[in-house]
Symmetry: C2
Subunit: 328 residues, 2 copies
Amino acid sequence: MARAWHLKSRPQGTPTADNFALEPLDLPRLDDGMVRVANRWLSVDPYMRGRMNDVKSYVPPFAIDAPMEGGAVGEVVESKADGFQPGDWVLHMAGWRDEAVLPAAALNKLPDLGVEPQAFLGNLGLTGGTAYFGLLDAASAKEGDIVFVSAAAGAVGSAVVQIAKAKGMTVIGAARGPEKCDFVCSLGADAAIDYSEGPIVKSLAAAAPDGIDVYFDNVGGDHLDAALALARRDARFALCGMIDSYNSGQPASLRYIMRIIGMRIRLQGFIYTDYVPRLGEFYRDMGGWIAGGQVTARDTVVDGLEAMPEAFLGLFSGANTGKMLVKL
Amino acid sequence: MARAWHLKSRPQGTPTADNFALEPLDLPRLDDGMVRVANRWLSVDPYMRGRMNDVKSYVPPFAIDAPMEGGAVGEVVESKADGFQPGDWVLHMAGWRDEAVLPAAALNKLPDLGVEPQAFLGNLGLTGGTAYFGLLDAASAKEGDIVFVSAAAGAVGSAVVQIAKAKGMTVIGAARGPEKCDFVCSLGADAAIDYSEGPIVKSLAAAAPDGIDVYFDNVGGDHLDAALALARRDARFALCGMIDSYNSGQPASLRYIMRIIGMRIRLQGFIYTDYVPRLGEFYRDMGGWIAGGQVTARDTVVDGLEAMPEAFLGLFSGANTGKMLVKL
């Protein structure tokens, strides 16, 4: 019988394993127009933390005692829908479970770009697309810009580093610890900052003596404040996530906020799903960079559905380098 | 002999009268190309507080023991420059003094728009231009938008209210005390919030039950946070000043900053001087609104050069309604 992770209680602060329970899942009947999918790869992403709160946001909250959702890639095992055959690989949002029965409209067949299917949860999916549209559209980053990116060893950050280098920018990435900083440099970054070594505003000032033109924010808090401190005239910030605040719920304290005025800084919040109508250009560019070796992936893979909450919680303790995935 | 206010010491926190001294001023000789101006109106503006600090900003700091500067309108009394005759009215930056000798290039003859000369320090000058370009360009405000403006009884804010109404927007203004709120409503605002009555986020939620599309920020701090809390999808914020922080030097604490992402908010810092090449459109629109009575001015006038520091300090205690001016 199919199983799915259910939300059992809403976390106060950092989630724990007790917030989740793996329970049997009643699947709908395979009526006409429906497809049965065996999930092979499940995604865990920081934004899911927001859905655990009972707060209206850009995605609705998870319901208590209901199966959770998220990005998943699977194989069609049975189909009563035109256009879907057993063996087809599909992308959908019925993750956090091993099997799903879905209407054809809820499935996207993976385009044949010569990459492994799990790439559609990473560099060719939510995280790569977030990096691509955030950097190039929300932040209007262009050749020659000096770009600072936080959580640069993470899934989104590592894509930002590589896209920025592919586009001829100078890139400074922040991460925690020497191993992750080495990884950021291996992606092509011009400098990596280990933020566990001291105040990030000092490290950034040393790494970017001429200041920065673009900041890609995955973290908020002191990283955002440091970017404000070092921003040059007409700097542009893409605000993608604030993992610093997801669990703490504390207000952000910004010492350098007044520089927004003097330096004419633009801050732009954005969400990947707004760019779905433009996925064509993303697949074209990103597919080309992956084929050409300019964008690579180092996934952190956790085995088995049972380990999924552990994989998710690892996002907040920095357990992942690159994209965190669950393999079934 | 000419006299000018000199900066004697740099304030810690809120400036005091001791930071200023009125001293004799040696004027340059009236060589060829030079013009002698008797100042009639002097401007005090919140941004001058920043120039009292020894910090690199978008305008250089005032030097200790040197005469201060700022917007001024005066009458030419003697000229050795082509194009300037005694009796001409001019706008220039050699304020904080009763008389100036300046090269012709430092002077702007007032265009004949049928308004009183001091309007070129207010609705047709720095403050009106700041309101115009901040609202319509930095915030991209358009007909039908719900606009929130802080310090709405001040010089910039009162211009924002009137421009927004002239352009068919809904306007909510924040000010302190019933008298200023009445003034804001008299300018055409749809609602005025007295922020001394309680948490501004609650008052704004009551005044804007559907949220806001645009925020024009003169204050920062809790006003900015309330605007973040109430912002709708794709809201745009023009960040013009943060008078809350000019003296306190405290970091801003923003509880609702994460809404920038979910609501795709854009925050744009701006400075009036960037728009000098576009002053033509400003004079055309603003001149028309003033002539048509859609934009009016209520100045707070202080008499005499001796009272100038008092006028300036009054900006931070809310002593002004509309534009604060010194009349000589």
